[in-house]
Symmetry: C2
Subunit: 335 residues, 2 copies
């Protein structure tokens, strides 16, 4: 168990909340106070576990360990969990998980409540981190906002009238699958020309590799010759920061695609904030500058003036803090 | 005053509401009961009036006449007004009006309340008709929906969690200015490649005229030679219904552009309903069939299954009923 247990003793709040972040690589669990501070946390590899039952057992054990450490003075009120896939939020059922096989229609809320005795809430990971940013991060006190996660996939969460908006069948926020070019490149989702197929990890790397292999000069020409599969957004970021024109252009293009879609969403939602996070967002101004420029250029005057575009604040603990925020949200004012 | 006053006598409800629909061509005002039934209505031309003060005087006189007819047994509780332009809803101030000069920053709510003594609410016309469809029309009892108005401009209104969603600075719902083709055709708004520049009245007619003038065969070749400016969406509708291949293709294209954008919005909002209205929607299945087909093809499975796509129900009185709905909404449960 990671240290920071001293925080726990100093904390006089009566209730604590557990946030769980189930990802394809790691399972993270943390104990938070009602201000969204992480008091204790634990990380396990999910890659090494063998199947669903083992992962559930791991989660239960983490919850029990955190709950014991929380003790009687600061008992755990509830737990919130984010998972990488679509969820029936009302019933706490996971429809399926991206990159983790064997999770079709799993009533995880009931399972967790039966095994741990603690009230449990579950939602998809982007909604959970959006709630974290809304309650304790970059979107604190915002009424209307959009959170965007850029990585292998492109996910989104919507804050409307100060609440997380889930939609009619809890699937709202799929910003990555807005089609931006009719009959465009094949996307992972089966469709063509989705935003994700222009700004997702794999696709922006592919565009760079394709151009380098076609003979365009780049600092990455050598690495591409050796192992094109080894190129990552981080390689492109480093190359761009070292002045590589092609890498700079790839980031500019990526930011412009994203900016045009965000400008449309600014016109549709009139949000006060757009929060951008995820691995690709690590490129910082290489990405954010063209995003901001396109949003300014392509959104209408009134909504364009109302919106700020920022990066996430919660960092690597976002999933834990978001999970705890979900647990707080759903138990607030209830016995 | 149009007849249907007999309705008024039969109506036992204690309160009535006035809805006002200010357009570039007509000023419509109606008295409605709390079920959204139009009891009395009056239409004036706005084109013939000379300036803002005259229009305001007309509106005040219509309100006074309707209010007098409503009488003491069914007094007017409040009035709601829809106007063709952006509005500061909280303060009841019109920022400006499309196609009606001289309306910059007009505090219409205060003006109307001072002159008529009746509580007044004002919003842009698409929001007002969206509210009408939500309370008394195609979106009755819906929690999440999108209303789209297709005409000279393309406007939109959003219903989220059973309420009209206005956004941070009351400008939400500008669906017509989502950019669908980077560096596409010039749009009326100053940008390029907006949805409106593909499916707005003028633009879809322009595409047809351009192709006919370039020599493609069409039933409209004669009319285009005589007066290309005389071609309208209705001409294209008639030609398509008479089997004209080019006209059919224009409608198919238009529906497909619209369908792709709506598919994106289905993925983002996960709505249960999309309501399409306005002049261009008069083309019926010529437009709706490709729209529905593209939404089915391009939206994700879960949100795609949840949504129905329908045409408006309120017809020519939509603005009056919507205005009355706004007045009801804002006074409900208040003294």
């Amino acid at each position: 168990m990671h240290s920071s247990a001293s925080d726990l003793k100093e904390n006089n709040l009566l209730e604590t909340f557990i946030g769980i972040d189930l990802g394809g690589t790691n399972l993270k669990a943390g104990l938070c106070d009602s201000n969204g501070r992480v008091l204790l946390k634990e990380i396990l590899k999910t890659g090494t576990s063998d199947g669903r039952d083992r992962i559930i057992k791991d989660i239960v054990e983490l919850v029990e360990a955190l709950s014991t450490r929380a003790g009687e003075k600061t008992p755990v009120r509830a737990l919130g969990m984010g998972v990488p896939g679509p969820v029936d939020f009302a019933h706490g059922v996971i429809h399926d998980l991206v990159n983790i096989p064997g999770w079709e229609e799993v009533p995880i809320r009931t399972i967790m409540e039966e095994r741990t005795g603690i009230q449990c809430f579950v939602d998809n990971d982007v909604n959970v981190t959006t709630l974290g940013e809304l309650r304790f991060g970059a979107a604190s006190n915002c009424q209307n906002g959009i959170c965007l996660t850029l990585g292998t996939g492109v996910g989104g969460g919507l804050i409307l009238e100060g609440q997380l908006y889930r939609g009619t069948s809890f699937s709202a926020g799929e910003l990555g699958h807005i089609i931006i070019v009719k009959d465009g490149p094949q996307c992972n989702c089966g469709n063509r020309g989705c935003l994700e197929s222009f700004v997702g990890n794999r696709y922006l790397v592919e565009r760079a590799v394709f151009r380098i292999q076609a003979g365009e000069p780049s600092l990455l020409s050598g690495p591409v010759r050796e192992d094109p599969g080894g190129i990552t957004p981080v390689s492109l970021q480093d190359a761009a920061l070292n002045g590589d024109a092609l890498a700079c252009e790839i980031w500019k293009e990526t930011g412009e695609y994203l900016g045009i879609v965000l400008a449309g969403l600014v016109n549709v939602f009139n949000p006060e904030i757009i929060v951008i996070g995820g691995g690709v967002a690590g490129a910082g101004d290489l990405l954010m500058e063209p995003v901001r420029r396109m949003v300014r250029a392509c959104s209408m005057k009134v909504p364009g003036k109302a919106v700020s575009i920022v990066t996430t604040q919660l960092g690597i603990d976002a999933g834990i803090i978001g999970g705890a925020a979900l647990a707080m949200e759903e138990t607030a004012g209830k016995n």
